[in-house]
Symmetry: C2
Subunit: 194 residues, 2 copies
């Protein structure tokens, strides 16, 4: 196999969810059917690496020092929603049910990988949440073990500073049939009934 | 979402087997955790587009005018194996059971996509197979409808020129239990019993 083909397959394999076979398939496809697409992808990668930084206020991806959400005066400045990733932020935005601001942790604690709460920017979050304008911090980390642990640490740190912290409700999803929902979720939904 | 992030996700979506969610996940991963990987991928793409061409004899991917397989005097020069793609060629090489030469069609006929046998290089294959040295052409296209049709046309064209064409054997795969093998395959294996 030519060296530059092997190097391309190896580089594609580093993408999340891409194994050796998919990487080879992608490389063959690009070289055989879509060389323009390969060039476009190379250009897009370089432009993104060059232009994308983190918003200084909320840490999400942004081309400006302050992202468009943080810079929008129409957003509710008294609420701050803490999410793990920019994708989680995008999901919340798509619901159309939230018009406050965000703080993006860029991950969740993972002791085995050496990712503690300090790496996720807990200190910056505390500074951000203590600006005197924020009245409520909605902790919207995942409902996994790591996400729950992250939420617990954040809520405790906020409580110490007298800032109100809330968490997304747990319960039966829309369209969910009780028969197929896990027992832990049903137990939570029962405890949080209203 | 920043423009260059959106452009990157869009470019990643063009890869085969990558949808909108995977593309977003890849882009976030690269920007958050692996900017060096993103740059390496961009470099690998550009190097491959710049360096990889088709071997003039067998049409496989190569950085040289003639690929290393075609240039290898130790290969059996009297046998030519016709495959659909460089990946199929790689699979045959990994078996270690073939030491002849190759001809890579770079596809199979697909009338709906306007890919006829001419686009696959039938004329070049006939010139290649008529060099007076080739004694046998092994048609190793897929056992799909399109692959079979491709094989049929190639075999007919070779027969007209008096060149011997063979086809890979069809049969029960190693480890295959008859109960789970499709009936068409069993019928073929029965007909080709030896």
């Amino acid at each position: 196999m030519p060296d530059s083909l092997e190097a391309l397959i190896e580089a594609l394999r580093q993408l999340p969810g891409v194994g050796a076979k998919s990487a080879a398939r992608m490389a063959y496809h690009l070289l055989q059917h879509d060389r323009d697409g390969a060039q476009r992808l190379a250009d897009a990668l370089m432009a993104a690496v060059r232009n994308i930084r983190h918003c200084e206020r909320c840490h999400t991806f942004s081309e400006q020092p302050i992202c468009s959400t943080c810079a929008d005066p129409a957003r509710d400045q008294t609420r701050l929603c803490v999410v793990e990733t920019p994708s989680d932020q995008a999901v919340l935005e798509r619901t159309g049910a939230y018009d406050g601001l965000y703080f993006v942790l860029q991950g969740r604690i993972s002791p085995l990988d050496g990712v503690g709460i300090a790496e996720l920017g807990l200190a910056e979050l505390m500074v951000r949440a203590s600006d005197g304008v924020i009245e409520e911090v909605i902790v919207a980390t995942s409902f996994t073990a790591e996400g729950e642990a992250t939420a617990h640490i954040i809520s405790q740190a906020l409580a110490k500073r007298g800032i109100r912290a809330t968490r997304l409700a747990r319960g039966v999803p829309i369209g969910g049939e009780l028969e197929y929902v896990d027992l832990g979720t049903i137990a939570h939904a029962l405890a949080d009934r209203h």
